[in-house]
Assembly symmetry: C2
Homo-oligomer: 303 residues x 2
């Protein structure tokens, strides 16, 4: 007694399928690019491993046994599966398919991300995206640990292990509460907020927006009154609606549709100061990354 149950091999299965389909050992052997004797032996081996007679063979005719009929179906499935497994694996390795774990900020979910997903559907449908919303800081952390492959985040991204790509720049718009007299103007300038109440970004949770706005105001010598500091755009708009003050938000935030909150373009310098970057570890070995970066470049160029 061996104790080790022997296992069959794919070669034996291929031999069997050929024999079962040809019902003729000679032709089956020819199809397998071998001679008849070794094919006979491969099938004997397979039958021995299974402990089951698969083919009834007289010198005049070859027939499948009932068990052979069942095994033929299974054998074809195994071969198909092996074939497709090889194919799928090669595709993954070639980067034609695969999964990219993508981090994104809430704000980019309103503007850049939808455009990216549309583009993916037509340009790289075999690349799956695992989407994870997180703030820029979390994205940096997740990139380092490998939880995400690519992040869509706010600058600055100064880690040396990252590569980056600027994918979008957005204008600022003013969110004004119902009744604000500035609604009568078609467009605004930063100086329109001098000495006015403004819902601001929190330096901790929304460092990028906070610093950017602070920089813009300082460059023009404008000093608004910061009445509150928040980090999420939709809560800022809620305060605007409550009449606490105005707010400056990326233009994509207009899609949030708050009642009694109206938007007006704001002229700034530069005119699209809200920048979005893609970042990824330079040593990331995800084969789908190259295709995905192509996608990002296309989406960024359409900006």
């Amino acid at each position: 007694m061996t104790g080790l149950s022997a296992q069959f091999e794919l070669h034996q299965i291929r031999c069997f399928v050929a024999a079962a389909e040809e019902l003729h050992f000679g032709r089956a052997a020819a199809r397998m690019n071998m001679t008849q004797p070794p094919l006979s032996r491969q099938i004997q081996l397979l039958e021995h491993v299974l402990g089951v007679k698969l083919l009834d063979r007289t010198s005049r005719a070859v027939k499948l046994t009932p068990a052979g009929r069942v095994f033929l179906l299974e054998a074809r499935r195994i071969l198909r599966l092996a074939e497709s497994a090889a194919l799928a694996t090669r595709r993954i390795a070639a980067g034609e398919a695969g999964t990219i774990a993508l981090g994104f900020t809430a704000a980019s979910g309103y503007s850049f991300l939808p455009r990216l997903l549309l583009l993916r559907a037509s340009h790289a449908p075999n690349i799956d995206l695992a989407l994870r919303e997180m703030v820029s800081g979390e994205q940096v952390e997740s990139l380092l640990t490998g939880r995400i492959d690519v992040g869509l985040l706010r600058p600055p991204v100064d880690r040396t292990e990252f590569s980056t790509l600027r994918v979008a720049g957005e204008r600022l718009v003013a969110a004004l509460p119902y009744g604000d007299e500035r609604l009568e103007q078609a467009s605004l300038r930063l100086s329109d907020f001098d000495g006015r109440r403004l819902v601001m970004y929190a330096p901790e949770g929304a460092r990028y927006f906070h610093d950017m706005l602070a920089g813009l105001f300082e460059a023009e010598g404008v000093s608004p009154i910061a009445v509150q500091s928040l980090s999420q755009i939709h809560s800022m708009l809620a305060l605007v609606r409550a009449g606490i003050g105005a707010a400056l938000v990326p233009e994509a935030a207009q899609s949030l549709h708050f009642d009694d909150v109206h938007f007006r373009p704001v002229t700034t310098s530069p005119d699209a100061p809200v920048e979005l970057f893609a970042a990824w570890r330079t040593d990331n070995d995800n084969p789908a990354l190259a295709s995905f970066l192509d996608l990002l470049r296309t989406a960024g160029a359409a900006d």
Copy 2:
């Protein structure tokens, strides 16, 4: 250049799965009952055949590549499928599972067949039945050509290549039209039909019933008037309902529930003259046959 795209083998897959699960070539080799060097080479071979690197190995750590992760899933599926294919084939060969093509007469479909199917559900659930209704003559033909494995048919079955088993004997009942005065009797005798109109079986289409009834009447010296000859029981009952005459049918026909057709037991000698036999080719090699014959014997014994 070979021109022949090489194929991988199950052994290589088993090696890869072991290595991918252990993430350690030494332990994986031990699990495979071999030493580390040949395992390394099997995986190299697999990678070469696929043209894809599956494992990232430094001297300090082994990691799956993205393609390797995908292939690991596929590899496990292949191994599971191979395992279950062997199991299923062995079960078929052992006769514990499989398909029996079963012919049956319309009449047996009302009595014996339901009992058989019930018994199958509890005693041999892995035996599938392909049911084909046909008259006894067709069944003999189908048994010879192998279209069915077993037939449930009427005697005599005198082919030398067949084995047979008596599985059921049924009583006769009289089917009487509404208003027939014999309905007042609790039970009838054959002599109650002397000189009376009787819907009879056609000698061609229903030879067994025709001959059996003719024999019974002759043995008792009773002579009914045959008003019509049919071969299907339900059409006979339709004529009974129309008042054409009475009919003698197997007791199971009572389950047909024709309006205005009533049944009364009939005493005959022997008391269960409607016999049903199972027949199969003695040289039938269907491995499920033995189990199925056990089932038939059980169902027949319950009669």
